[in-house]
Symmetry: C2
Subunit: 136 residues, 2 copies
């Protein structure tokens, strides 16, 4: 796993409400759909996502604050599998195995020993620059 | 608030255990103390912190996964107060008011409408580069 953070995904109950809140603070979505919005953050992305718990394969019920997942984007499709196997070997719980995602990439999630979630993702629509950053 | 993420802080029960886990994945701390470790992440910082709940002014009891806070570092000491006031005006709950921190900077925390924590911080030891990134 390279030392890289590409996005932070916040599980939110209501995407338009979350977008309005961050909009009042000057953060504007580059893309917004019913269930998710993407806000550029200086080489990383803030994702406001309604279905994070489902996507990550974890329970969400009654959680306040909602879940948070750090994304680690990789350069090649099968790097997702490699990083997840490395995480498993290091003692992580794999909450969702590597799989081809309906948005066209590949993804999986692990939880660290304290339960913090990381998504490992390959997204052909989010190329990494030389320094490993994502610019929407 | 500028579009910037400078760090992600994960509340962890045991800093050496967390450091060992991330170390097995190839992420090495640049600095480690009893209660906190700082791992460089390509222009941002991953903080593994034992006392995040206390520092953020929120309850932690029984939480699993532990808390997570996104840090937004600012260039000037009193920008902390300005960003927190903007967040309050946007409807955020201020979980800890702006204060001079014992590590020599200034800090405060707000929670977004879903309860996700942001720390707003001025840290004279973490200068931002022109692009607003932190390199430890």
């Amino acid at each position: 796993m390279e030392a890289r953070l590409t996005a932070v995904t916040l599980g939110v109950a209501d995407v338009p409400r979350a977008v309005a809140f961050y909009g009042a603070l000057g953060l504007t979505p580059k893309m917004q759909m019913e269930d998710v919005a993407f806000l550029p953050l200086n080489g990383a992305v803030l994702c406001l996502y309604r279905d994070l718990a489902l996507d990550a394969g974890v329970e969400m019920e009654g959680r306040k604050p909602g879940l948070c997942a750090i994304a680690h984007n990789v350069r090649e499709r099968l790097d997702v599998d490699t990083v997840l196997e490395d995480a498993r070997a290091a003692g992580a719980a794999i909450t969702r195995e590597a799989h081809d995602a309906d948005w066209g990439g590949r993804s999986g999630y692990f939880a660290d020993p304290d339960g913090h979630l990381w998504e490992v993702a390959w997204n052909p629509g989010w190329p990494l620059d030389e320094a490993g950053r994502v610019h929407l």
